[in-house]
Symmetry: C2
Subunit: 187 residues, 2 copies
DNA sequence: ATCATTTATTGACTTTGGTCAACGAAAAGT
DNA sequence: ACTTTTCGTTGACCAAAGTCAATAAATGAT
């Protein structure tokens, strides 16, 4: 949980009182491998901080699983779209490695936004950071070939490569497992 | 400018005083067709609201222009990445139709964030909305074929189709002009 | 109105990724 | 340890998008 506070403090100053109020809203939960943190159709009424474990965020398109993101220790795990809009999730969040998370509910977070300016500022900064992440990924899809996206991933996130089976990486890159296998084979 | 206030009021309540302070920071500017609002290498230190006109947001990759977005009347126009990070822009923002905008500087906006809670809240809500837009677009690239993306665009944004030359739409969709022409030809 | 430039279409061919199937390796369950 | 799935690789073939080039249509400039 100290990990979370230090992440926050990189974004903005929080007083001990503000942090204490935030921490009071956090609920620790554990999930075994293969279980679901969120299923299609449910609204995502929380944001969680990953203490330990790995998750995948995916949806089904014509019987095929399309993986949009992986979440690791130190990341936020949520369906941010569903969280923001209140609409039902089209995505699943599934546990790939036994996980422990700290959840905060949408309701509690909004009360904190009203109670503490710094926490609302944190909300802004987190939204801005999530924007930057997804905008970068869109850029990669828009301007790079599958092969380029793969090597980009190799360079930036070799940890991901080791922990995630190859057919899931293929899905994340937007290609078929056979194609990824061939990209790797061509030297 | 009334258009901007009414947009804001859909997001959160602003008092007359808060709006007046915001409006005081807005600078009206006009740009002729083909001019640049932002060029590669410059930092984007503003967000602007489009009163009138059309813009394209693009970058050059191996001598080719890749268009990421178009901005119309009622949209915000900025390189949000560069605005947030302070880093140099990799993108150009060019005027496609003579434009009038209201600019607010990063410096003024941050002062307003400090001065008025509601304006900081607005900042959060705008970041959240921009996240939703780009996440949706990433999804389209991840899960849909060029043909599907094209018809999605036809349904959602036929205005864009009429105002933007086809080769720019192709770039926006991540395909070559010839390919878009063929997609349209196959009824 | 004419001419020049830009944009859109079409054809022939290439390249790249997808599909289907087979096979071996690795992992999981008993 | 053995069996059963699951996963990764490879081959043959297919489909879709890219490339290059020619031409037609639309747009802009004078």
């Amino acid at each position: 949980m100290q990990q979370l506070r230090s992440y926050f403090s990189k974004l903005t100053k929080l007083t001990d009182k503000e942090w204490a109020d935030y921490a009071d809203c956090l609920v620790k939960e554990s999930y075994p491998k293969k279980s679901f943190l969120l299923e299609e159709g449910g609204a995502c009424d929380f944001i969680a901080f990953v203490e330990e474990g790995v998750f995948r965020f995916y949806h089904e398109v014509e019987g095929e699983e399309k993986i949009t993101a992986f979440f690791f220790s130190g990341d936020f795990v949520t369906n941010y779209r569903s969280f923001l809009t209140g609409g039902p999730s089209e995505h699943y969040i599934q546990v790939l490695q036994d996980a422990t998370i700290y959840k905060i509910s949408k309701k509690d977070l909004h009360e904190l936004y009203n109670k503490h300016r710094s926490i609302e500022r944190l909300g802004r900064l987190i939204a801005e950071n999530l924007y930057l992440m997804v905008a970068k990924r869109l850029d990669a899809f828009h301007s790079s070939s599958p092969e380029e996206r793969y090597y980009e991933l190799v360079n930036r996130n070799s940890k991901l490569l080791q922990e995630i089976p190859q057919y899931m990486i293929a899905s994340y890159l937007g290609i078929k497992p056979e194609t990824l296998s061939r990209i790797r084979a061509r030297k």
